[in-house]
Subunit: 561 residues, 2 copies
């Protein structure tokens, strides 16, 4: 704040100078006191001057309306929405979410720091506080075949580029085992986001002692309490597949409420467009009995406080005028959204220009050898180990199958350097029939994942992805849907509306094939290859037991032919 800005703000607050903007006669969230203030919200120079009796150069009527501080998505991957960040923000800023901790680790796995820089460039000029994180685990594990390998030296470079902190440290064994590069990375940033599913006891203490500030992998009250008592913040996640807000609201009490934040992590485009993100978390929390003002504080002030950001996340004097107007604080449907005092969205529509960085450098990332149906085949043998997928979670179970009945075949095909590595496994619980889905979205290395009940459609789907990548659905020997994700095989070049339309066509094609209840096929498929979430996952080398840190079996080419 310059001397001039401070002077204007003081004079406005005292009523000696007209505010730039006044929202008259509103009901205003007092996130610090826990109540509601009634009066005029005065904004000058992008900051709140006060709530009281004010007049402004511009005045809007706030009668019957509520003014809330804008929300903060404490952990997400823009890539999960499959549109570029600047497009994503056109959907969520109008919902009152103007702050983000975004970990670009998907694009980093494909394109390295070039991808991270693109993400930074792409959000420039968007009226939101996008805190881009340094991807900590690229590749996610030493077993992964990713398109890049980021070291502590890259983290140093990232810090200089303006990255906000170290993104989710998924390499828990690396932390606990004091891997030298991991320790170095931890030393680069003050802010370190975590990822510690099912960690407890001394191991959890070690993880916290290492400097990890948050965890978004809690699913139970006990896990939440374990993290809070160790000084960590619990990020209550409501993604498309992993939905934890409802369960974790039971852990929130009068004493510990300030240690909770909301995040979306991985949320698909239709969920974002139809149900929102952090506004959706607030609605769920309120439906679970958390008072609206407390849910709003969790969605706003708590996150800014956790990340040490001053002067944001409250409607209070001197605070940034990042806020929105709504008619019901329990519903949080933003009618007008302000960022730094500027009206940036109205009635759900963005008022800011479409922007975005040049992405041509991130195209053509799919590089494959010639493939045949045989390359994708896996002979079934009775009693063989299979992956069991479960509804509404990214966790899987290791099971066995006596017959191929009800199983799908999944392959993970290396696609960054045409190495010819293909992992294969059978899956129970997916229930896809008469076709195949192929995609270049496959956490975190984003090789090609293809699942189906016949290798003909599977191969066709893989070929349909082309050199840019995306999603393809095939059935009966023909392509029934195809979505281009030109940016790294992860994000569309087009608008969110077009992507949403394409996604709906894609979903329709998937639905036409049929699948099990309670799963979101494309997202679930994209996590079947993430070898840091228990119990078993598939990578380009074979079926991997995450808990035991070893392969159930490997898919050496010769062995399987």
């Amino acid at each position: 704040m310059t001397d001039e800005e401070r002077t204007r703000l003081i004079r406005t607050a005292c009523g000696e100078e007209k505010a730039d903007l006044v929202i008259k006669n509103a009901t205003v969230a007092d996130v610090f006191g826990g109540g509601w203030l009634h009066g005029d919200v005065a904004v000058t120079g992008g900051r709140i001057a006060g709530v009281g009796s004010y007049s402004g150069k511009t005045e809007t009527d706030g009668s019957g309306k509520y003014v809330l501080p804008a929300f903060y998505d404490a952990h997400l991957h823009f890539e999960s929405v499959a549109v570029r960040p600047s497009e994503y923000l056109r959907l969520t800023v109008p919902r009152g979410v103007t702050a983000y901790n975004a970990d670009p680790h998907e694009i980093a796995n494909v394109c390295g720091m070039r991808g991270v820089k693109f993400m930074l460039d792409d959000v420039r000029g968007v009226p939101a506080d996008v805190h881009m994180m340094m991807p900590s685990c690229v590749p996610a594990t030493g077993e992964d075949r990713s398109g890049a390998h980021l070291t502590a030296e890259d983290a140093e470079r990232g810090k200089k580029l303006g990255l906000f902190g170290l993104g989710e440290m998924m390499n828990v064994p690396g932390v606990l085992g004091c891997d030298k590069d991991v320790i170095k990375k931890l030393g680069v940033f003050d802010i370190i986001d975590g990822h510690a599913p099912a960690l407890s006891g001394g191991a959890l203490s070690a993880y916290a002692a290492a400097g990890v500030l948050t965890d978004h992998e809690c699913t139970t009250v006990e896990e939440a309490n374990d993290r809070i008592s160790r000084g960590m913040y619990v990020l209550m996640r409501e993604g498309s597949q992993a939905k934890n807000v409802r369960a974790l609201c039971r852990a929130v009490n009068d004493y510990n409420a300030d240690r909770f934040l909301f995040c979306t992590d991985d949320r698909n485009l239709s969920d974002v467009a139809e149900h929102g993100t952090i506004d959706n978390c607030v609605r769920i929390a309120v439906s679970c009995g958390i008072p609206p003002i407390r849910a709003i504080k969790i969605a706003s002030q708590n996150a800014f406080a956790a990340y040490g950001i001053k002067g944001k996340g409250a409607i209070a004097p001197g605070y940034a005028a990042d806020m929105f107007v709504c008619s019901d604080p329990a519903e949080c449907v933003a009618e007008e959204v302000y960022h730094a005092g500027m009206l940036v969205a109205r009635s759900g529509e963005p008022l800011f220009a479409r922007s975005g960085a040049d992405a041509s450098d991130l195209r053509g990332t799919v590089v494959l050898p010639d493939l045949t149906e045989e390359d994708l085949a896996l002979p079934f043998t009775s009693g063989m180990p299979v992956i069991e997928v479960l509804p509404e979670t990214l966790y899987t179970a290791l099971s066995t199958a006596e017959s191929p009945e009800g199983l799908d075949l999944v392959c993970c095909i290396e696609r960054h350097r045409a190495l010819g590595e293909i992992g294969r496994a059978y899956v129970r619980g997916f229930g896809l029939r008469g076709g195949a889905i192929a995609q270049t979205v496959g956490h975190d290395s984003h090789n090609i994942t293809v699942l189906g009940d016949n290798t003909r459609d599977m191969l066709l789907a893989v070929r349909a992805l082309g050199s840019d990548g995306g999603f393809a659905v095939c059935s009966g020997g023909r392509i029934t849907a195809k979505t281009d994700l030109e940016i790294g095989g992860l994000m569309s070049m087009g608008s969110a509306a077009d992507a949403l339309k394409a996604r709906r066509e894609l979903n329709a094609a998937v639905s036409a094939l049929g699948h099990a209840e309670g799963i979101e096929p494309l997202m679930l498929l994209s996590f079947l290859t993430l070898t840091v979430i228990p119990d078993v996952k598939l990578n380009t080398k074979g079926l991997y037991d995450v808990a035991r840190g070893r392969y159930v079996y490997r898919c050496d080419k010769k062995e399987n032919r």
Copy 2:
């Protein structure tokens, strides 16, 4: 944290390496979760590794004991104790208070930045986190005759010296009036402590919008709520004269508890030595019904969080091992105190060496012209305005007197440059009889304040102060007590024990004279000249009406002779 420190901490937390120190089988405050953990507290490299099952190179038995995070005095003036900071800390670190925001504005009013530097130097090497603040208001007002005048340029210098923030911004009219130097000072530091007695409405919003983070002048629940809703922290103060903790505990609730801190501001040596400081605040809060764990959090974590200090104020992995052991968390009597994992006090006794900077440069600060009894005289006239002092507050009232009966005479004598300025007034409610008290401690300019019922003893007492200054009590034409405060006329060169003995003799001499109930004569006297606390105060020029910002009368020499 270096890579090596992080590695050792992780290995210790995992149980793979012995801790430096383990307190076995203790009950441990969980300030984040609000409960109590049971286990061994492991410390390595000065940090907590974890609470669990650990073994250490050194082990102590914590059975039946409680381990609490060390406390934080969020606002104090070391000078109020009249010993040097390094001596003060020998009294309070053993009580478990190891963090301080200390505003050296008393010595700054006498010696300027030379005084501030001395304070910084004096605490060097003491096992405590002393955050020295930049005095913001030297002199306190434009009407004051202080020994120094500190500007925004001095604040810049102070920042470079390592000062932590801007000390209590008492110049509220300067803030609200956007005084250029005040605005500049506010721009120098991110952390700005406040001082806003009775401020409310738009003026309070303006004060908060200016960047002020805290206020320690709240006395009512309403004032506390007003500040909290504006994003400010409320410092619940328990000084020797101003005691607000009891009243303000009524404002603490389940929602807003994190917005409260404790401080002592001005607390005299005997109160510090006999009753403690922040430990005393915790006891009072608990007696008011606040659960011990919440009172402990207010005393520790809340303050570190408010000031943006990470990794301190909790017994949690990675946090600094600043903590103490006690037998009853409601009493908080520290038995062993640790700072950065080192045992620094036991059974109330400091285990660290007596230190302290060279103070010879700050001696001989009392410079007076020749004075006679006549210089101190004030003819009484019926109906004349008088200062009315009140029990247990620093506020005064403006009153009138029909007869001199029950009144004392008080003079404020300029003593920095022998200017010959002397303000005079009568005081009701002090009740001193048969003598006089003179002192160089007189907030904030620290001129000589002398009060008595006869000018002979008053002059004698002033002369007894000598060139170094201190306190003098005279009765019946003789000196009955004398305390040297060689450092700026504010602080003793000697030990706290000697100062305490001297103070007791001084108090005995004051008691021998007799005074009204409910007042602490020497401290009250030291605030009779502070022209920022309503309603009326006396400076070297005359009787000043604080609320109206004007003199009730001036004491021009010729006029009064």
